[in-house]
Amino acid sequence: MEKIFAHPEALYDVSTHYCPGCGHGIAHRLVAEVVDELGIREKTIGIAPVGCAVVAYDYWKFDCSEAAHGRALAVATAIKRVRPQNIVFTYQGDGDLAAIGTNETIHAANRGENLTVVFINNAVYGMTGGQMAPTTLLGQKTSTTVNGREKEKHGYPLKISEMLALLPGVCYVERVSLHNPQGVFKAKQAIKQAFKNQMDNSGFSLVEVLSPCPTYWGLSPKESLDWIRDVMQKEFPLGRIK
């Protein structure tokens, strides 16, 4: 009988530390499946972020580096330049990529570094207890926007993917979502494309993944998925941006 579904080799067979309903577990698995399908596990180097996914290297079975908060793309730039034969990607949250690391993000993209970025947007800081992220929606309550994000005080949700798409060094930007099985499937295709681009030396690729955080959204796992579909996607529309 043909085996059509198995545990990815690039993913250790362990339980994750993530909260019930969190999207990180799914996103980790998608990366692992893509790495396996492209046959690149033995030459992949991942950069784990600071944030909830800080110990992603406990789950991925390939070489990984930590990076200081926001500096993943500086670390990745150097690794890829030193070892162009390897496949290097960063996995970063919204605070990491679009707040503290904005400078590193924009300049790595603008240099057209041949890298793959998996950008997890859950509109909140999870690891530190649910503070406002650069991508927090207007009106969204967090521990630092107790009455909801107000544009007058906190500015607007930052659409970093659209900003990066303007840069000539960037070859591919797509926004996907983990709110339903079709969305997960599309997310995997996009992540695969972003890795393929690097294998083809095409330049900087980024996939923004809208991902649920039930714990700090104050919603059930099911409600969180609906919130992505009904609310978050209005601010962050899905699809190919570049």
Partner: protein, 349 residues
């Protein structure tokens, strides 16, 4: 490589020394007075087969060094005081991840933006860790262009030997002045054995480069390992130059450029029949404490710095109350002159 002498600035000598020590990755951000170094790397690194990146900030530069070292490269960055302050985050992570790296600080006046005059006001930052956490850097302080070249090579050697970050601590005078340098005859090209480096996990278990130890007890265990490494370095890697110490009644203590001026003062004082000597620490961490021990208790020390008193604290710790330790220092553009040093010594004798 030809055995030859070339006229070169301190900044260029550090860059050339690095290239000949097998440095194959450099990332930096412009700042005065170390710009000749980044320019030299931009010009010569690609030809030697390495990677040069002008980073978007000092933060990015030091984190690029982190990545390059993690990937197995001999990596270096350079800057000057305000830029080195920015690098402290990365230096702490490099230390926590036990990555070899060489960091150059060509010091200028501070605090804040300060000025671009030479200074030695970053001694505390360099020798006390600078960033967060219990870590140390090996800090080497050249006093001339030849020594800048030599110690940079030593720095790469020590960085690999101990899996530690090494700082070359100079000042604006050292960086800018030109002196003849005898180039080393051999070029180190072989990349060091780094079984922990990120190269892809073909035929082995995955490697992880990290400084994060969340589980109870793990960080303490790791920190004890670091401390053990530092203890070995303390025992084996102190360096200093002693001059005319045997009959000295006053021992001057200075490092780097300040030691050159102090040495001139020592010559003048000896010509006048004054019994003075000089201790010039070359490794600032580990500090050469032994140079200060087992001496006649009547010896007086005079520490001379281009700061308002930083290394003097290490001298006081080394002497541990057994002798008088005086201090002469200026910073922010002023440099203690030969005359000032001689006048002060004459008051002590």
């Amino acid at each position: 490589m030809l055995k030859k002498r070339i006229l070169i600035s301190g900044n260029e000598a550090i860059a050339e020394g690095a290239l000949r020590a097998g440095c194959n990755f450099y990332a930096g951000y412009p700042i005065t007075p170390q710009n000749e170094l980044i320019a030299y790397m931009a010009k010569y690194m690609p030809a030697s087969g390495g990677v040069f990146i002008q980073a978007e900030s000092e933060l990015a530069a030091i984190n690029m060094v982190y990545g390059a070292s993690a990937a197995g490269a001999r990596a270096m960055t350079s800057s000057s005081s305000p830029g080195v302050s920015l690098k402290q985050e990365g230096i702490s992570y490099i230390s926590g991840s036990r990555l070899p790296a060489v960091i150059v600080n060509i010091m200028r006046g501070g605090p804040g933006l300060g000025n671009i005059a030479p200074a030695q006001s970053d001694y505390f930052q360099a020798t006390r860790g600078g960033g967060h956490g219990d870590y140390r850097l090996i800090v080497l302080a050249p006093a001339g262009v030849q020594e800048a070249y030599d110690l940079t090579q030593t720095g790469f050697y020590l960085a690999d030997k101990y899996r530690i970050a090494v700082m070359i601590l100079g000042d604006g005078i050292l960086g800018q002045m030109m002196e003849p340098v005898k180039l080393s005859t051999k070029k180190i090209t072989a990349s060091p054995l780094r079984p922990w480096a990120l190269t892809g996990c073909k035929d082995r278990e995955p490697n992880i480069v990290k400084s994060f130890f969340l589980r109870e007890g793990d960080l303490e265990k790791f920190n004890l390992k670091l401390q053990k490494n530092y203890e070995v370095i303390r025992k084996k890697e102190t360096r200093y130059e002693g001059l005319l110490l045997n009959d000295a009644k006053v021992i001057l203590v200075a490092y780097g450029t300040m030691a050159r001026i102090t040495k001139s003062a020592v010559s003048q004082l000896r010509l006048a029949g004054k019994k003075v000597g000089l201790i010039r620490p070359i490794s600032l961490w580990p500090f050469p404490e032994k140079a200060f021990q087992l001496r006649n208790k009547k010896v007086k020390y005079l520490v001379v710095e281009m700061s308002y008193g930083q290394m003097v604290e290490d001298v006081r710790l080394a002497v541990n109350g057994s002798a008088q330790v005086d201090f002469l220092g200026r910073s922010g553009g002023g440099i203690p002159s030969e005359e000032e040093i001689i006048n002060r010594v004459n008051k002590l004798i």
